[in-house]
């Protein structure tokens, strides 16, 4: 298994970082110019709708990163795969960043449209819970250094947290909420006009690339940390 030794991984990671660096800014500029300049205004909300191009992708990213780290930490708990542990550790802060971003942009969007910064409806509350779970995740990395306890705590957190994910998704359908129902569905047509859908997906791509960039940098640092520890032991 020489292919997956940490030395080889660093080479791949470096190559990937270089590649993403070369295309990230181009896609970001295209996405932003579509989102802020070329896309049309909404018939009802006017220019306020442009907050959507950051709000919606960051909420998606926040939710999907949590599902990813929850599943990885459960797998890590059962099969003790060191790499998964590092991936979880480097992904968690990124997920927190995007969850906070979606909450902040959402509240900025809520004030002009709904007339309030925050309401304790099911969607907003479950998103707030997601943020709390991220913070608990990161704190447990900080305070439980013990190799015995940490995976157990992470597993318990991820099981509790992953139940929250479908609640976030379906909260707007199950209960009456201030937040409007989903515009883009897995099946069926979306209720966002295609001229607004294209910039939305461009921004999603740009933010995903940003995620990948930060993740790879953090992952590399974690690997280097482990290497240093091993050198000290020798």
């Amino acid at each position: 298994m020489d292919l997956f030794s940490f030395g080889n991984v660093i080479v791949y990671v470096n190559k990937l970082i270089k590649f993403i660096n070369s295309i990230f800014f181009v896609i970001l500029i295209i996405g932003l110019s579509f989102a802020l300049i070329f896309s049309p205004v909404d018939y009802l909300q006017g220019d306020t709708v442009r907050i959507m191009y950051v709000h919606v992708p960051s909420a998606w990213i926040g939710i999907s990163i949590f599902s990813l780290i929850a599943i990885s930490s459960i797998l890590n708990f059962v099969f003790k795969i060191k790499n998964l542990f590092l991936i979880v550790k480097s992904l968690a802060p990124i997920g927190l960043l995007f969850t906070c971003l979606s909450i902040v942009t959402g509240s900025l969007w809520g004030k002009p449209t709904w007339g309030t910064w925050w309401a304790w409806d099911a969607r907003l509350t479950s998103m707030f819970m997601l943020m709390v779970f991220y913070i608990l995740f990161i704190f447990s990395f900080k305070y439980f250094k013990n190799k015995e306890y940490l995976p157990k705590i992470l597993t318990a957190l991820s099981i509790l947290g992953i139940i929250n994910i479908p609640i976030i998704k379906y909260s707007v359908e199950w209960w009456s909420t201030l937040h409007q129902p989903a515009s883009i569905k897995f099946t069926g047509t979306s209720s966002i006009h295609s001229s607004m859908l294209i910039p939305l997906f461009l921004m999603l791509l740009a933010l995903l690339l940003y995620c990948a960039l930060i993740f790879l940098m953090k992952y590399k640092t974690e690997i280097i940390k482990i290497k240093k520890q091993n050198i000290k032991r020798l």
Binding site: V41, Y43, Q45, V49, T113, I163, W175, L178, M196
Partner: protein, 142 residues
């Protein structure tokens, strides 16, 4: 195959999942009423437990041609197309508040048909489109 260690870990995992599920069911049945952010006018009409002179949140559509405004207060009818509720409010309304749009009002119920609002929130639907598109849709509907 699965070693003994992995088996113990799996059983630990399953026990955590079971405990969590029990908790969730417990929480769900306790919070069932509080999860709903607002009630509809017909729910208020049916439900006898809702007391008058208590704070309540009601959501629905603002009925067409029902907004009456003078310099002191705004008065409109909130409907869920089955039952209607008259709302009185003094204060500024959000930008998106208009006829045939969703709204959530928070206030004191005077009787089952009359509500004095403290706060109005606008609710919008999941459709986003450019203004030209909306015009075309409107013309097609005619």
């Amino acid at each position: 195959m699965l070693t003994k260690k992995i088996k113990t870990r799996l059983s630990f995992l399953i026990s955590i999942i079971l405990i969590t599920l029990c908790f969730l069911i417990f929480i769900y049945f306790n919070l069932k009423q509080n999860i709903l952010y607002f009630k509809t006018p017909s729910e208020i009409f049916i439900n006898n437990q809702i007391k008058e002179n208590s704070m309540i949140r009601v959501g629905g559509m603002v009925k067409k041609d029902s907004i009456r405004q003078n310099n002191k207060e705004i008065r409109f009818i909130l409907t869920d197309y089955k039952k209607e509720l008259i709302v009185v409010y003094s204060g500024t309304v959000p930008n998106l508040f208009s006829e045939e749009q969703g709204a959530v009002v928070e206030g004191v119920l005077n009787d089952k048909k009359y509500l004095i609002a403290d706060r109005i929130l606008a609710k919008h639907d999941e459709n986003y489109m450019p203004p030209q598109m909306k015009k075309i849709l409107k013309e097609n509907a005619k």
